[in-house]
């Protein structure tokens, strides 16, 4: 059982199954067959001069990362570590705990982290929201600690930015919805779980706690060597925190059975890559992936400032109304009915009483105004949602004609203690 031979065997089989001799491209023949395209190309080139300057940007991949958290986790999990020899030399004399401790040590002097990642999600929706069939959306994250110990960080995807500038924490949902906390909140707030990757120490603590609470958690550790690069791969299986038939199953990473894969550079023990695969009945789906990590590089001050639009709509918790008692008594189904009814009448003052933001934006008014209610179903709960929340099935016909059938998310854990619409539009 020589793992090295295993690898060669698999390589040989794959090469036999797929391999082809070198292909040769006949450009002259291709030109003969594509004269119309070539004529079009030449006419375009003559009509618009191309740039000549070479702008060469090198993205430095230092790949050292915060893997810290796993060290502690491994200390707990080591009893269930399986050493696998699938591809290359195994590491029977090195425990997962050792590997993780070395990784922690390797990032002990990190003062800045810059990560790029991609995730199957919706650009403007919750940071942690996933969809197995969604396209990948780019995510970028920065964190730095200055000489005085001031910590700043930023997590961003195309339609949502979360910034902690050292004093306040602000989230902007483009184009103009925002929420602010006048204090420095920790990474991971506002559902930005991926931000935790930036904080090695917190990450370590989180995984440690997970391991303590889930003694059956499966951890796999193995070596891989490809093209001369020796890496250590740590795989951690994580169980979903909702049942299989839950409405929110596979809607968030924590609501899916998934596999976290951490890859360390065996030489410097730094985190090299991180991926999350959701387990589904039809196989594993890659849902999150860190594509680049830089450590200890200067990050521009502008990264930690946020230019808000002039017409920003600040989120405010619903406050008690003069006749709040009437609304407090309403059931989730009645609230859904009342909210859609107000939208159908374009009575935005009334609709706003059921709305989670401070006011209903113009695009939303345009979208919901004049709708027709087809049906409102029976509310149901999800373990993935707040215990104070319900989902209410609905079917409406929008003013422009299309019918929408979905579930309204409604919750009442607010100062007014009345149900408000939290999502599902």
């Amino acid at each position: 059982m020589n793992p090295q031979n295993d690898k060669k065997s698999l390589d040989e089989l794959l090469s036999l199954a797929l391999g082809r001799e070198n292909l040769k491209f006949d450009f002259a023949k291709w030109q003969n067959q594509h004269q119309p395209e070539i004529r079009q190309f030449r006419s375009q080139a003559q009509s618009a001069p191309a740039e000549t300057a070479v702008s060469h940007h090198t993205w430095r991949i230092i790949m050292k990362s915060p893997i810290t958290k796993f060290a502690a986790a491994a200390a707990v999990i080591v009893a269930v570590v399986l050493t696998m020899n699938i591809f290359n030399k195994s590491i029977p004399t090195v425990s997962a705990a050792q590997v993780l401790q070395e990784a922690i040590d390797a990032v002990s002097d990190i003062w800045s982290v810059h990560m790029k990642a991609q995730m199957r999600t919706i650009p403007h929706d919750n940071f942690s929201m996933i969809g197995l069939n969604y396209d990948f959306v780019p995510i970028e994250m920065w964190q730095r600690t200055d000489e005085t110990g001031l910590v700043q960080w930023r997590v961003e995807k195309p339609q949502r930015i979360l910034l902690m500038d050292g004093q306040t924490t602000t989230m902007l949902i483009r184009p103009n919805n925002a929420v602010r906390a006048d204090e420095p909140w920790p990474l991971g707030c506002f559902d930005s779980w991926m931000g935790r990757l930036l904080n090695v120490r917190d990450l370590l603590d989180n995984v440690l706690q997970q391991a303590k609470n889930n003694p059956d958690q499966v951890v796999t550790l193995y070596h891989a060597n490809t093209e001369g690069k020796d890496t250590i791969v740590l795989e951690v299986e994580v169980k979903a925190d909702v049942p299989e038939n839950d409405y929110l199953r596979n809607s968030f990473i924590s609501n899916s059975d998934h596999l976290n894969i951490y890859q360390f550079d065996a030489r410097d023990k730094l985190l090299d890559a991180f991926q999350v695969y959701a387990h589904t009945q039809n196989g594993d789906v890659l849902i999150f992936e860190v594509t680049n990590i830089e450590y200890n590089t200067q990050i521009a001050d502008s990264v930690f400032t946020l230019d808000l639009p002039k017409d920003v709509i600040w989120y405010q918790q619903p406050q008690p109304l003069p006749d709040n008692q009437r609304y407090e008594k309403m059931t989730p189904k009645e609230v859904a009915q009342a909210f859609f009814h107000a939208c159908s009448k374009e009575d935005w003052d009334e609709a706003a009483k059921f709305w989670s933001g401070s006011k209903i934006s113009d695009p939303l008014k345009k979208y919901l105004g004049g709708l027709e209610i087809i049906s409102i179903g029976e509310p149901f709960k999800s373990l993935g949602y707040t215990p104070h929340g319900w989902f209410v099935p609905y079917e409406i016909r929008l003013k422009k004609g299309p019918v929408k059938k979905f579930n309204l998310a409604i919750r009442n854990d607010n100062p007014a203690q009345r149900y408000i619409v939290d999502g599902g539009i």
Binding site: M1, D6, S9, L10, D11, L13, L14, S15, L16, A17, L18, G19, R20, N22, L23, K24, F25, F27, W30, Q31, Q33, H34, E37, I38, Q40, F41, R42, A45, A48, P49, A50, E51, T52, V54, S55, H56, H57, T58, I61, M63, I86, F87, A224, T226, E227, K229, T231, V233, I261, Q263, D272, A273, Q275, Y277, G283, D284, V285, L286, E289, T291
Partner: protein
């Protein structure tokens, strides 16, 4: 070819230098054929798709926003071309590697290896699309990690991780098919 040399070629092509575009085609012909093969499972059609990819790229070169990502831009066009071809081709191969067995003459392989090779192709056909693409790119024409990273627009580290996982999955699926003797 260095990255700067490649960007120079793209710039030259944008200026109307067809020979520069030809150099780029030459470099990316094999990767594009391999990518198209992942969709079409037919070598001849895959070559047609690669050539059509270059034709569309030539027409749309001015839309290329990031010259450093020429390869991954080309790859996107290629996938679309291959899907179009798959949609309209008259032959019905149903995307099954096992049907395309005769398309892979392997004279070097002993006869008793044929069933294993067939099994490997079947297993590859069952991989998720992204993993299948990686495996085909890697083994179709012994593509380097650097070239794969260029074409797929990913880092070599990510390629490595994904490839490790795909190989691991293949090994498991082959074991499930009872051909573990070859691997273990």
């Amino acid at each position: 070819m260095t990255e700067i040399e490649q960007i120079n070629l793209v710039n030259a092509a944008l200026s109307g230098d067809l020979a520069a575009f030809g150099c780029l085609c030459d470099k990316y012909y094999s990767p594009m054929v391999a990518l198209a093969y992942c969709v079409l499972y037919d070598h001849h059609l895959a070559e047609d798709a690669a050539q059509e990819t270059f034709a569309r790229a030539l027409q749309n070169l001015r839309k290329l926003s990031d010259k450093e990502k020429f390869a991954s831009w080309l790859a996107r066009i290629c996938r679309n071309v291959a899907v179009d071809l798959a949609r309209f081709r008259s032959r019905d191969t149903k995307g099954d590697f096992s049907i395309a067995t005769q398309d892979f003459p392997s004279p070097a392989a002993p006869a008793n290896d044929n069933c294993e090779i067939t099994a490997v192709r079947e297993v590859i056909s069952r991989l998720p699309a992204a993993e299948r693409e990686l495996i085909v790119l890697r083994y179709y024409n012994s593509m380097s990690f650097e070239a794969m990273a260029d074409v797929l627009g990913l880092s070599k580290t990510v390629i490595n991780t994904r490839l490790c996982r795909a190989r691991k999955r293949i090994a498991q699926l082959l074991r499930n098919k009872g051909i573990s003797e070859v691997l273990l």
